[in-house]
């Protein structure tokens, strides 16, 4: 503690104390300590396991790159689950951008006093665990389920067999992660000053031009956060493939889980987790270094 106090003399903000820690750091201390113990330390443990002897629990006592060699060996199909996860995450981000943009625009510009209520409708599913909601889709699409039954009632052949296919996994991911795209996007669009749009319109700019030159660039920070958030969450998604997909595709997190549970190969699972973490954290830190959080969350 003494080091911190000496390296950042906060005597201006708190004149009463001699070697006072700045008030901000003092307030941040509980969060920082908690996240060091609860977030950083576990990740360090995983990283340490990634370099341990395969199929052992000799963490911090052995050092080998064997686990990474196993992953990058094309004879193993692990890279395939990586590819599926990244591919599906990218598709999810693209589809969600298209699905969420009109809604976000509506929340900011069109719905007026109804926006609050409509936002609550979109927030609420976050509080219902994803497996319950995904299971609802199983009941919808399953044989003799809601879709099948309704179509038969209407005298048609019955519902299509789309459960347990890759397509339904993608659908499940788009469905689950919608709020994570919608709300950052709404924050972003709320940053676009109305006057600017009106001024451009008065000066004769077309709607396409206003969108391309004003709305999109000014809303970009929010849209970027939404895309980053959904990509990261979707890259680690596993429930969609398990509940809806019937394991038609093995996602990367599923492979990690298998290594940790059935095959009891913690070092291999850790090495996979480390690779996923590098992708995810690298992308997050890169995008976040380009953003000013004060502007996005505060000033409106």
């Amino acid at each position: 503690m003494a080091d911190i106090a000496l390296s950042s003399p906060g005597t201006i903000t708190a004149p009463r104390r001699h070697f006072a820690i700045p008030a901000g750091l003092r307030c941040a201390t509980p969060v920082i300590i908690f996240l060091l113990l609860g977030f950083v330390a576990p990740l360090v443990t995983v990283a340490a396991y990634a370099f341990a002897t395969p199929r052992s629990f000799a963490v911090f006592r052995s050092f080998t790159l064997e686990n990474f060699v196993t992953i990058f060996n094309p004879a193993n199909s692990v890279w395939l689950s990586f590819a599926w996860s990244i591919f599906f995450a990218s598709l999810t981000v693209l589809l969600l951008a298209l699905v969420a943009y009109p809604i976000a625009y509506g929340l900011v510009r069109v719905f007026g006093k109804w926006s609050g209520l409509i936002s609550v409708l979109f927030v609420f599913p976050l509080f219902v665990s994803e497996n319950v909601r995904l299971y609802g889709w199983v009941l919808f699409f399953i044989k003799n389920g809601v879709l099948d039954g309704t179509l038969k009632l209407a005298g048609l052949v019955g519902g299509p067999d789309i459960l347990f296919t890759p397509g339904i996994i993608l659908f499940g991911m788009v469905y689950v992660y919608l709020p994570f795209m919608l709300f950052p996007m709404t924050l972003g669009l709320a940053m676009v000053p109305r006057d600017l749009v009106d001024a451009a319109s008065d000066l004769g700019a077309g709607r396409m031009m206003i969108w391309r030159e004003i709305e999109l660039p000014l809303a970009m920070p929010g849209i970027l956060i939404g895309m980053l958030l959904t990509f990261v969450l979707a890259a680690g998604a596993v429930a969609e493939a398990k509940v809806l997909g019937g394991q038609a595709i093995i996602m990367i997190t599923h492979d990690i889980e298998i290594a940790f549970t059935y095959s009891q190969n913690w070092p291999l699972g850790s090495a996979l987790a480390v690779l996923l973490m590098i992708i995810v954290s690298g992308l997050s830190l890169f995008v976040m270094s380009k953003l000013d959080l004060d502007r996005i969350l505060g000033k409106r």
Binding site: G106, S129, V138
Partner: protein, 266 residues
Amino acid sequence: MEKIGAKRTRLFIGLWTAFVVIVIYLPIICGALAGLSKGRYFAFPVRTFSFEWWQRTIGSFEIHTLVTNSLLIAFIVTIVSVVIAFFGALAFARYQWKGRRLYQKLLLLPIFFPQPVLGLALLLWFNALGITPSWQTAAIAHLVWIVPVVTLVIAIQVYSFDPVLEEAAADLGASRTFILREITLPILWPGIWSGALFAFLLSWGNFPLSLYTAGADSTVPKWLYSKMVAGYTPMVPALGTMSTLAAASLLLLGGLVVMLRRRRTA
């Protein structure tokens, strides 16, 4: 021309939003139907409705344990996260200090992290520490994700808070605790309240973290998942629906409190 185009856009946005809302709630309705139909296997259209599976769910001892676990975790998570996040939010938005930008970004990292992987990492960490996973460790796991979320929720309120008020009170001779009690807390109250609601509800519905860190103990979402994978009974959609309804009532109640309080102060 411009007018008609704008009108058409508004209509499209309204219709699209309505469609997406329906799609969002469709599976929840399907679950409710399955929990309320009589047979062991779900078939649509539902032949006979009954509360049989609801009654069995309510009467089950196993489910009482689950609900107790989930509630206990959610209460602990709410109290701890609101206290830590209150100060965390002041550091995030109120004070200017050297490491603030870095702190803001690091705080977001647990949110920008796949939860199943976080759960597995915590499992390894608890194991390295020699802690047997139980509902207590699950509560810690929830906190790792929920503290940053609540900090953000409260921080948004802090941004709209003018520090001059605190300084004025200090100049007039008010003590630190007096300022906190009479000025800071009442102004930040709506943010703290919604932060607490978020904490409770997110913990209540959390599945991926509980799955890996609760050990032999189970929570409502974890139990539902284990039954979905193997051993389906209509108690699964019945309990799912009950859990959803409980969350909805809490959200309504929370919103009502905010409205009543705002009316009183207005």
